[in-house]
Every structure is written in structure tokens, then in C-alpha cells.
């Protein structure tokens, strides 16, 4: 550890990572295309299969701390649905993310000239965590008598024929933790049997693989890379320009490869100092 410190101090390590992140953004260097994973392709295909006029429920289960990682996939999913003429019903299980989620949906909708309460609505947040999912599975309008902008949900055109969770063509939870994708599987999908996809941060991604393999989740968009894959699919399929995730992929590349380089360098120094060989 001491030899590592002699070669590179903490501030130099920070400078390397900072430069790796900032240079591609400042100079707008384009990243190479990412390969598409099965989980992302599955979510894309499912949204693609919803007929125009069908319905997508987007649950934004994260707060501003995870905004850089999860906002791009929220925008990509909303854009995909709006482009295809799918009705979007959005909500959130994290109170601190409510206004952020509302802005994501509102701004994505305005890009496609969509009208609130007719083409989309943001239901907002309600206390209870997973209990909200349970209640939505029984009566959507009772759970949310009004949307975020206080429009009554009874008689709202966008909710025509949507009385409970099982009426949605597809439900996607974009989550940074609990309550999130896991709760939607246990208290939503398992009980009501609707199609469920997920989006998540890298931190909770490993914990969701069992649900993906069993088919309880039919697709998963993991971390910013998954969002970049989705943006690529949107460009190929619908000509929608790539967004924030793709723009950040080269920064991710430099930062993560720098991290690998630092780990290798740290180990080489450790072995050269004789500690690794027991000298």
C-alpha cells in the first residue's frame, strides 16, 4: 500500500478518473456501438409488440442520486412508447424521485406532441411502498384518485379500460433499490400475472438475475450500458437519436479501463515490493 502511495497519491488517482470521465464529454468524442444483450432486447421487443393505443406502466423507483444512471432508460422507454402511439401511465414508489420522474415523462411526451390525461398521465407517489403495488393490483383509481396534477383519474381518457395492474400490456419498474423491481415481481407479477420488465442500477443488477432466469422478469435493462443499448435499438428501429446514455459510454469506457489499469498497477507494485511473494 505504501509503495502504491509513493507512485500515485490519491489526488492523482482522482485526476486520472476525472480526466477519463470529462475529456470524452467536453470534446464530444463518439463512442463505438455497444453489443445488445438479451435482457435489453427482450424489453425492447415487448414494448415493440404493444399495439398502438395499448398501455405501458412505467414505475420510476429511484431518487436523484441515481438520476444519471437511470434517467436515460426512463426517457428511452417513454420515447419508444410515445413514438409507437402507446399510452403511458407513470408513477413512482420513491417520494424523493417524484418531481424528477414527472419531468422525464412530461418532457418526453412533449417531444412527440402528446397531450396529458389523453395520451399519458403521471400518477405521482403514494406512501406504502409495496402496499401501493398490492392496492393497484385491485383497483387503480382507488389507489390514485387523482394524478400528480390533481386531475381526477375517474373518467380520464388515458386510463380507459385500465382498472388494475392486470389490464396493462406491459409494466416496467426502473429501480435503484427497495421498493423496486423485486417488489413488483413478488407483490405484482406473481399475484396478478401481468408482463413485467425492469431497469436497474449496476448495484442491484446481480440480485435480479434469478428473476430474469425464471421468467418472472421478461427483460432487464441494467445500468447506463443497458440504456445505451436501448437507445441504439431505438435509433435502428425508429430513427430516434441517441441520448444521454450513449453520450456517456466513452466516459464510462475510459473511467472503467483506467480503473482496471490502476488495479493492475497496484498489484504489480505490490508484487514488486515483495509482499505478494512473501519475501
Amino acid at each position: 500500500m505504501a509503495m502504491s502511495r509513493q507512485v500515485l497519491a490519491r489526488r492523482e488517482v482522482w485526476a486520472i478518473i476525472g480526466a477519463g470521465v470529462l475529456i470524452p464529454i467536453v470534446f464530444s468524442i463518439p463512442a463505438t456501438e455497444v453489443s445488445i444483450s438479451k435482457g435489453v432486447q427482450a424489453v425492447y421487443d415487448k414494448v415493440e409488440s404493444i399495439p398502438p393505443g395499448g398501455s405501458l406502466l412505467l414505475s420510476f423507483d429511484f431518487d436523484p442520486a441515481s438520476k444519471p444512471e437511470l434517467e436515460p432508460m426512463g426517457r428511452a422507454l417513454a420515447r419508444h412508447a410515445f413514438k409507437r402511439g402507446v399510452r403511458v401511465v407513470a408513477m413512482g414508489l420513491w417520494i424523493t424521485g417524484t418531481s424528477m420522474a414527472e419531468a422525464i415523462v412530461r418532457e418526453s411526451a412533449s417531444e412527440f406532441g402528446k397531450v396529458p390525461t389523453r395520451d399519458y398521465t403521471f400518477l405521482g407517489w403514494k406512501p406504502g411502498g409495496y402496499l401501493v403495488i398490492v392496492e393497484m393490483g385491485q383497483d387503480l383509481r382507488k389507489t390514485f384518485p387523482a394524478d400528480f396534477n390533481r386531475n381526477p383519474t375517474v373518467g380520464m381518457p388515458v386510463l380507459d379500460g385500465l382498472d388494475s395492474l392486470r389490464d396493462f400490456d406491459y409494466v416496467v419498474s426502473i429501480a435503484a433499490g427497495d421498493p423496486g423491481v423485486e417488489k413488483w415481481v413478488i407483490f405484482g407479477r406473481q399475484k396478478h400475472g401481468f408482463a413485467l420488465g425492469g431497469g436497474c442500477t449496476g448495484v442491484i443488477q446481480p440480485g435480479l438475475y434469478p428473476y430474469l432466469q425464471t421468467g418472472q422478469l421478461d427483460g432487464l435493462i441494467p445500468k447506463i450500458r443497458g440504456a445505451a443499448e436501448y437507445e441504439l435499438l431505438l435509433r435502428r428501429g425508429h430513427g430516434i437519436p441517441e441520448g444521454l446514455a450513449s453520450a456517456g459510454m466513452l466516459s464510462m469506457s475510459f473511467a472503467q479501463l483506467a480503473l482496471v489499469g490502476l488495479i493492475v498497477l497496484g498489484n504489480v507494485l505490490h508484487w514488486r515490493s515483495g509482499k505478494g511473494t512473501g519475501r
Binding site: V34, P64, P127, L131, P210, M249, S253, Q256, V260, L262
Partner: protein, 225 residues
């Protein structure tokens, strides 16, 4: 004593047993019962938020009163809480810009220009600390740590397009891509371990729930029993 002990234990037993079976009974009355209890749960959660605010006020008031180390931060907490509350009430709880005028309410300003960047910054600086710690402490000291190191490098390189391109450039034709190798690590090794953890946790929840239902675990009644 009867109201404090036997009644709560009886309620816990009856409700616990009923809801074990409720999940398997798709009858209308059964669903109604779930609806009623879910409503109660949501109301209780709402009140728990008030409890949290009360606790926050009390704890920080004591810090300020006793002038503990860092009591100034408690003042900042008070100012932030009261200021946000005032902005929220003044804006009628709305944070989104007005549909007609496009004017952002005060609550929206507080949210978008303090909370969002502050939380984002806190999370973003983790990358710098992780890099620094990985450089100084992530060492191949044993077989276990070598396995961890190899898995970490595969996932880090396979996660980014530049890593994928570099792998393709270095490796001969026919070798699986680094992203595929990363997928295998996640879908096979990680999955097996995660499933074991999930099953273990689920069994633990069942055991703990049974202890509550049968009155073996009585900590929630208070009184140190």
C-alpha cells in the same frame, strides 16, 4: 396486562393465519379483506412519515440545545427542512412548471436546483473513492482474491464498448466476446449464489413470521419481554 399482552398476541395470530391462506383464496371477499388491510397499511405508513419528522426535530433540537460537536449542521438541517416545507406550502405542493406560463414554482426550484444536484454529486464522487481504494487495496493475496480480481476485471472491461473492442483486437478469431464472458459470470456464477441467498432469506422470513404468529417473538410488544 390483558389488553397489553393477550389482545395484541391474539390479533397477530389471527391476522397472520388469515393472510397466510388469503393469498391462495381468489374469492371476492378474500380480495376485499386484502384491500381493507392494505388501506390500513398505507395509512399507517403515512403516519410513520410524521413520526420520522418528529424524531428528526427532536434529535436535532437536542444537538443544538447541548451544543454537541457539529451542532451547526443541525441548524442547517432545521433551516433546510423549514425552508423546503415553506416552499412546498407556498407552491401548493407542486414542483412542475405551470402548464400555461411555464413558471417554475418555488418548491420546484428547491427540488431541481438543490436536492437533485446534491444527491447526484454525492453518488458521483463514489467513483473516485472506489478507484482510489481499488488501486491501494484490491490485491491478489490469495486464491479467493485472485478469483474476485479476475471476475471484476472481466466485468469492468466487458461493460464498456472500448473494452469490447480492445478484447476483439487482442483475442484470436473464435474466442467469445468479453461481454459474453461477463454475461456468463453474471448468469451462472452470480445467479447460483444469488439464488442460494434468496432461498436462505425466504426461509428466514418464514421462520421469523412463524415466531411472530405463534407468539414466540414478542419484542414488538415492548417492555423487554
Amino acid at each position: 396486562m390483558f389488553l397489553q399482552r393477550q389482545v395484541p398476541l391474539a390479533i397477530c395470530f389471527v391476522v397472520g393465519v388469515v393472510f397466510v391462506f388469503q393469498d391462495f383464496v381468489p374469492h371476492h371477499d378474500s380480495e376485499q379483506l386484502l384491500t381493507v388491510f392494505t388501506d390500513w397499511g398505507i395509512i399507517i405508513t403515512g403516519f410513520a412519515s410524521l413520526l420520522g419528522v418528529g424524531s428528526l426535530i427532536q434529535v436535532h433540537w437536542l444537538h443544538i440545545k447541548r451544543q454537541n460537536a457539529g451542532w451547526g449542521y443541525s441548524v442547517v438541517t432545521y433551516v433546510a427542512m423549514v425552508g423546503t416545507l415553506a416552499a412546498g406550502i407556498a407552491s401548493g405542493g407542486k414542483a412542475a412548471p405551470d402548464a400555461q406560463t411555464g413558471v417554475m414554482p418555488a418548491f420546484g426550484w428547491v427540488y431541481n436546483y438543490t436536492m437533485v444536484p446534491l444527491q447526484g454529486t454525492m453518488f458521483a464522487i463514489l467513483a473516485f473513492f472506489v478507484a482510489s481504494v481499488a488501486f491501494r487495496s484490491f490485491r491478489a493475496r490469495s486464491v479467493d482474491s485472485v478469483l474476485l480480481l479476475v471476475a471484476a476485471v472481466i466485468l469492468l472491461v466487458g461493460n464498456v464498448p472500448l473494452g469490447e473492442a480492445a478484447w476483439r483486437w487482442v483475442m484470436p478469431e473464435g474466442v467469445p466476446g468479453i461481454a459474453d464472458v461477463g454475461d456468463w459470470v453474471m448468469n451462472t456464477l452470480n445467479l447460483a449464489v444469488r439464488r442460494a441467498i434468496l432461498i436462505g432469506v425466504a426461509l428466514g422470513i418464514v421462520a421469523t413470521s412463524l415466531k411472530f404468529i405463534l407468539g414466540i417473538e414478542r419484542g414488538y410488544l415492548g417492555g423487554g419481554d
